[in-house]
Structures are given as structure tokens and as C-alpha cells.
């Protein structure tokens, strides 16, 4: 009986802890990169458009393969018919 109670208590504590941990994940304080911690993110290497030639080549390969000219935010759809 005592063992059974201990197991129940342990299971209850585990569930509470799990829910508490999940709640922590939802907190912006714990998950958000703070403004003063963004030196790496602000580095020029993090810019996806830092090399115009590489961007043009990637775009060319993308729309040639996917028939998706204009499918990245420009006017028109991804049908390749315009």
C-alpha cells in the first residue's frame, strides 16, 4: 500500500513537473533571444541576401526546378504560366 502511494505521488509530481516545464517553454522570457544577445544574429554572415550573385543563381535554380517564377512574393503565382 505504501509503495503504491509513493508511486502515485511520484507520477503526480512527474506530471506537475512536466506541465511546469512546458509552461516555461511558452514563456518569451525563457525562449526569446534578448535584444542585448543578438550580436551573432546581427552579423553580416547571417544575411541571406549578402551575395547578390549567389541569390540570383539560387533563384534561377529554384524557379527552373519548381516552375515557380514569381512564387516568392512577387506578383503572380507559382503556376509558371506568367
Amino acid at each position: 500500500m505504501k509503495t503504491h502511494s509513493l508511486r502515485l505521488l511520484a507520477a503526480f509530481a512527474f506530471i506537475v513537473l512536466s506541465l511546469g516545464s512546458l509552461g516555461g517553454c511558452a514563456s518569451a522570457e525563457l525562449t526569446r533571444v534578448q535584444p542585448w544577445e543578438r550580436s551573432m544574429l546581427a552579423d553580416d554572415l547571417m544575411r541571406p541576401d549578402r551575395d547578390p550573385l549567389a541569390t540570383a543563381l539560387t533563384e534561377h535554380v529554384y524557379f527552373s526546378r519548381e516552375s515557380a517564377a514569381g512564387g516568392r512574393g512577387v506578383g503572380g503565382s507559382g503556376c509558371g504560366c506568367n
Partner: protein
């Protein structure tokens, strides 16, 4: 004590300790709050300045959080230098607090822009985390009583300069007892 009992007992003890740890962490996070207008600005003693930190007690103070990797911070420095030069005689104190991780980047930035105000480094981000700086740059304009009177998030060139000058003049015009 049987094995199941031993496991259950051990698990319970560790679980309780873990739960207490998580609860303490969540409580600590919950207790932190972004500095708002009307709050007292914390002491600057945690930051490392090249020169001695100026006396801010009883002075209108502009505290600017900046970083060498932040574009608008570069634009703000000449403006804050001009503001410091224009209003220092009236009792304004400007302090630039860097949140740079790299000491070399901090020093290069300061050498290039040569500010007329005192700069300091919050290398461990203790002050920035305490204040909960919402963006880079953010400047806090404090009254003579050390309380936050205006907060400027970001820097928008001439518009921000005009606004800050107007606010500084109104704070300087206040008598110590009325602030």
C-alpha cells in the same frame, strides 16, 4: 526496502528538488519586469567604465544602451555627443552603456566615433537584463530624482534628436523639488 520502493523514494526526492528548482526559476523570471516610466533606474555600479562614472544623483541623466553591431547606434552617437556638449553646462549627464561581448569591438567603435560622453561596458549583461532593454538602442531619460521620465526605443535620426532635446529642456527647467 524493496527495489520498487527504493526507486519510488529516490524519484520522489529528486522530483521534488527538480520541481522546486523549476518553480524558483519561473518565479525569478516572473519577478523580472521591464523598466517603465516612473520606475527608479538601478545603480550603474555593475558596469565597467574606462573613465570614472559621472555622478548622476541630482542630475538629469540620459542613459543609452548600445552595441557596436547595431546600425542605429552608430547614427545616435554623434547626436548624443552634441546633446552632451550643449547641455552639460546645465547639468545633463550622458552615459553610453555598451552590451558588446567583444571588448575589441567596443573599443574600436568608441575610438572611431569618439563620443564626448562617458561610455561603459555591461559585459555580463547584468544591467541590461535587470532593466530588460526592449531593443537596441534604447535610451532612458531620468529626472533629477533618478526616476525614468522618458524611454526612447530605437533611434530615428532628427526626429528622435528633436524630441529628446525638448524633453531634456523640460527636465532641466524643473526645480529639484518639483521633479
Amino acid at each position: 526496502m524493496s527495489w520498487p520502493e527504493f526507486i519510488a523514494c529516490t524519484f520522489r526526492t529528486r522530483t521534488i528538488r527538480l520541481a522546486a528548482g523549476v518553480a524558483a526559476l519561473l518565479l525569478a523570471v516572473g519577478l523580472r519586469a521591464e523598466l517603465k516610466v516612473g520606475d527608479a533606474f538601478p545603480a550603474l555600479k555593475g558596469v565597467q567604465a574606462d573613465a570614472a562614472l559621472p555622478v548622476t544623483a541630482g542630475h538629469v541623466t540620459l542613459i543609452d544602451f548600445w552595441a557596436s553591431w547595431c546600425g542605429p547606434c552608430k547614427s545616435s552617437f554623434p547626436v548624443y555627443s552634441r546633446i552632451q556638449s550643449d547641455y552639460a553646462k546645465d547639468g545633463l549627464v550622458v552615459v553610453g552603456v555598451s552590451v558588446d561581448d567583444s571588448d575589441a569591438a567596443y573599443r574600436t567603435f568608441v575610438r572611431r566615433l569618439a563620443p564626448t560622453f562617458v561610455t561603459a561596458v555591461d559585459a555580463r549583461h547584468e544591467l541590461a537584463a535587470h532593466v530588460e532593454v526592449p531593443a537596441m538602442p534604447t535610451s532612458y531619460l531620468l529626472g533629477r530624482d533618478g526616476r525614468v521620465r522618458y524611454i526612447h526605443v530605437g533611434f530615428h535620426g532628427a526626429e528622435t534628436e528633436k524630441q529628446i532635446r525638448r524633453e531634456i529642456e523640460s527636465l532641466l527647467a524643473e526645480t529639484p523639488s518639483s521633479s
